[in-house]
Amino acid sequence: MMTFLGNLLLLVGGLFCLLGALGLVRMPDVYNRIQAGTKAVTMGSLCILAGVGLLYPTWWPKLVAVALFILLTNPVGSSAIARALYRSGIRPWHKAGEEES
């Protein structure tokens, strides 16, 4: 049962990583790409870490360390990139014909 759950979590995590990268390709703007590339990939990585933890119960401490690290640094890094972009003068994308507010 634990093995099945772990394998399922690994699959879900891999799928989320793939979808995040797909969003990175498909989105129209840098800010949208930051969204797709950070949120979905964070979710996928945490799913993969939890799945490996279910498959190998003795690895929990190191896996928790890696998971905490991803959870802490990934949002910080993406928000640092977004702030740098905004300060260097790149404005968010608008649909054609929409007035800039």
Partner: protein, 86 residues
């Protein structure tokens, strides 16, 4: 215990890295490339943990942790460089 089924997740993760690599190569501006590199780094951290499960060796977890730390420092440094200023 039965062998963990890591081949399919590794294929999915590898396809994700390839897609992000396409954005890294084709990205119109430098910020696009930075975002793509950040995403590739996080996906690679997860992939190294998958490799630890595939090779049944806990040594790779340390590699994943150090890789994540170095990638984060690099991304923040590039963000500072884009921002400019003092």
């Amino acid at each position: 215990m039965t062998e963990p089924m890591v081949l399919l997740p590794l294929l999915l993760v590898g396809a994700g890295v390839l897609l992000a690599l396409g954005r890294l190569v084709a990205g119109p501006t430098a910020p696009d490339r930075v975002v793509a590199a950040d995403t590739i780094a996080v996906i690679t951290t997860a992939a190294i943990v998958l490799l630890a499960a595939a090779f049944d060796s806990a040594l790779y977890l340390d590699v994943a942790l150090v890789y994540g730390v170095l990638a984060f420092v690099g991304v923040v440094a590039i963000a500072r460089a884009i921002e400019g200023g003092p």
